[in-house]
């Protein structure tokens, strides 16, 4: 491996991932494309396949998608679809199968169009987080998915395969959690942009985990020398970001703030809880996913509880809620989040509705600077 600098490594992570996935594929391993944190990566790993998160965070493919999809869809859907129809994501080309969930209406229908060209397996994610019946249905979906993979890939997935995969994913999540927890330090020792680098696409890739350990120890070393307080500490919640869609994190940090924690599924939310290692493995996988408080769940009290916990641990000076344009669930839920942040946490709150394009950067800077000025007092 070429570099020992974890920051450089994660900036170039996609190159290492491509190399790894190509090599494994040529050895006969199956590749499964995924789009969402709800995808049960453990079952895919247990089938001997590699789960790879597919591209959907760049503005460059949005225009191509708009030839087919309506333009008033969220940029995440349009970008994903654009990559798909223009064949510009090599991971899509290499995928033997794509797994998707019914998280929102736009995605659900997009998967139908994708399904005309490629095998897309859609799992029906139920939405009532506190209902036993919903959980049972999700467990059934996962059992069916296990059988689908066994049939498609001609393998047998045993319970001990699943338990091994749970342990592997737990190790990965625990390391990511440890890295995100570095944001608790005050004065801060790591930026939001640096933490955004470590959301890699390929799960169960040993080299990533080694470099993640190095990332953590390198950042911890800074802690010994850094005494100067940084700018206002920001808790970023809402829609996920990724490579190419980190605009809001960039602007916050350009304006002098620090994103100390990102609540979104591209941040700490997806690694906050581990999968239970005891009991029936499929039920354990299903339960963990049900504890992931995405706005597609109703009611989504878990998100408010998580924000409260993060506010206690990370001591933010303000909260920013990022909404990708036309993401209705996050957009509507923003009202509930805003009331909670302002009235209960007594923190300044800003909702930012935008897309992947840079066109509104200056406008966003005005409101983000103003929020930082309020928070900095």
């Amino acid at each position: 491996m070429k570099t020992q600098d974890p920051f450089k490594y994660f900036r170039d992570a996609i190159d290492y991932e491509l190399e790894f996935v190509e090599k494994e594929k040529s050895r006969g391993r199956k590749i499964v494309g995924i789009y969402c944190e709800y995808t049960p990566r453990e079952i895919i790993l247990a089938a001997g396949a590699i789960p790879v998160c597919l591209c959907g965070t760049s503005n460059s493919t949005v225009a191509a998608a708009e030839k087919i999809l309506p333009s008033n869809l969220c940029p995440l859907i349009k970008s994903s679809f654009g990559y798909f129809i223009t064949d510009s994501c090599p991971f899509i080309t290499m995928s033997d199968l794509i797994v998707a969930e019914t998280t929102c209406d736009g995605k659900k229908k997009m998967y139908e169009i994708m399904g005309q060209r490629k095998h897309v397996e859609v799992l029906e994610l139920t939405q009532k987080s506190d209902s036993a019946l919903s959980l049972k249905h999700w467990v059934d979906e996962l059992r069916k998915f296990r059988k689908t993979l066994e049939r498609e890939f001609k393998v047998k997935i045993t319970d001990s395969d699943l338990r091994r995969a749970i342990k592997l994913m737990n190790r990965e999540r625990a390391l990511l959690r440890k890295a995100f927890d570095l944001g608790m330090r005050n004065p801060s020792i790591v930026t939001g942009l640096e933490l955004a680098l470590i959301r890699f696409r390929v799960a169960g890739f040993e080299k990533h985990l080694e470099m993640l350990e190095k990332f953590i120890s390198d950042v911890e070393k800074r802690g010994k020398s850094r005494k100067k307080p940084g700018g206002p500490r920001i808790l970023l919640t809402g829609c996920p970001t990724g490579s190419g869609s980190g605009k809001v994190i960039e602007i916050i940090e350009e304006c002098g703030g620090v994103v100390v924690v990102q609540e979104a599924c591209s941040g700490i939310k997806s690694v906050y809880e581990l999968t239970e290692e005891k009991g029936d493995p499929i039920e354990a996988i299903a339960r963990r996913h049900f504890h992931l408080p995405c706005s597609c769940l109703t009611p989504n009290r878990g998100r408010i509880e998580l924000i409260a916990k993060l506010a206690e641990d990370f001591r933010p000076d303000a909260v920013i809620d990022l909404i990708w344009q036309a993401c209705h669930t996050y957009n509507v839920e923003s009202h509930i989040v805003g009331e909670f942040v302002k009235n209960r946490l007594k923190l300044p709150f800003l909702k930012v509705e935008t897309d992947y394009s840079p066109s509104d950067r200056e406008q966003l800077k005005v409101r983000i600077s103003a929020l930082l000025e309020i928070a900095g007092k």
Binding site: K342, E353, Q363, V366, R367, S369, A370, E373, I374, K377
Partner: protein, 259 residues
């Protein structure tokens, strides 16, 4: 006059550049020019001219603060502060007890909630849409072939406006063209436009902003019909300072003296 206390505020907005010299208590001089295609150069030469005109050398200025869209590109400023904080400070100079400001500028509109003295508590701003901004009114005046100055002083209180439903400035334009084809009188149309601008701004206020008196600033505050429409939509008293276009620059100059 002790020159060591003099500060300067430069507001480089989307449509106009406003510069103010402030001696700590009152405005010494001010200038308002169009932004044009080269805002940085224009702002710099206007700034230099204003200093020369008042016989003030740059090194005698206590501090210069820039604000507005061009704030980070005005290299002669010692600090850049967001226009939200500057408008609040500028309004507090005229109205120390003000709690709520509506500012409608060329490219955006904002609602600012503040404590007496000008400390910002919360704010709302329009998204990337021109409806509800000065630019929208300019577009309409172009279609109607009327100068904004000619309608600014007119009262529309007795006119019942026509409905403008489009939420987008571009579509609103085609809606207006359609209304003209149907011989809708110009004053009804203008009233409709002013009410639609007011409604957009009121929607920014949400539930968290309310006050018996609202201070209305920005270039659009010079149009009487918009102030009337805001009064109608907010049911609050609308007060317009004597020179509503320069509160941002004034606030920048005031904050320059405080930091």
């Amino acid at each position: 006059m002790k020159k060591a206390r003099i500060t300067c505020g430069v507001d480089i907005g989307a449509r106009s550049i406003d510069i103010i010299l402030f001696d700590g208590r009152k405005i010494i001089d001010s200038i308002v020019i169009n932004t044009g295609a080269k805002p940085r150069e224009r702002a710099l030469s206007a700034y230099q001219n204003l200093l020369v005109k008042n016989g003030i050398r740059k090194n005698k200025l206590l501090k210069t603060v820039s604000t507005g869209y061009g704030r980070n590109h005005f290299t002669d400023a010692d600090e850049a502060i967001s226009e939200i904080a500057c408008h609040a400070a500028g309004v507090a100079y005229y109205f120390p007890d003000a709690e709520l400001v509506i500012d409608i500028g060329g490219q955006d509109s904002k609602v600012i909630g503040m404590l007496p003295g000008g400390k910002v508590v919360d704010f709302g701003m329009n998204d990337r849409c021109a409806a509800g901004t000065g630019r929208f009114i300019e577009m309409v005046s172009d279609i109607l072939d009327i100068k904004i100055e000619d309608i600014s002083k007119m009262s529309f209180r007795k006119v019942s406006g026509c409905e403008i439903n489009s939420m987008c400035a571009v579509f609103a334009e085609s809606e207006i063209v359609g209304l003209l084809q149907n011989d809708v009188p110009v004053e009804k149309l203008l009233k409709g436009v002013f009410v639609s601008v007011a409604k957009r701004v009121v929607s920014l206020m949400g539930k968290s902003f309310s006050s018996r008196e609202i201070i209305f600033t920005g270039g659009v505050a010079m149009i009487n019909g918009v102030a009337e429409a805001l009064e109608q939509e907010t049911e609050s008293r609308i007060t317009v300072p004597s020179n509503p276009q320069i509160t941002g620059a004034l606030g920048a100059a005031i904050l320059a003296g405080k930091r």
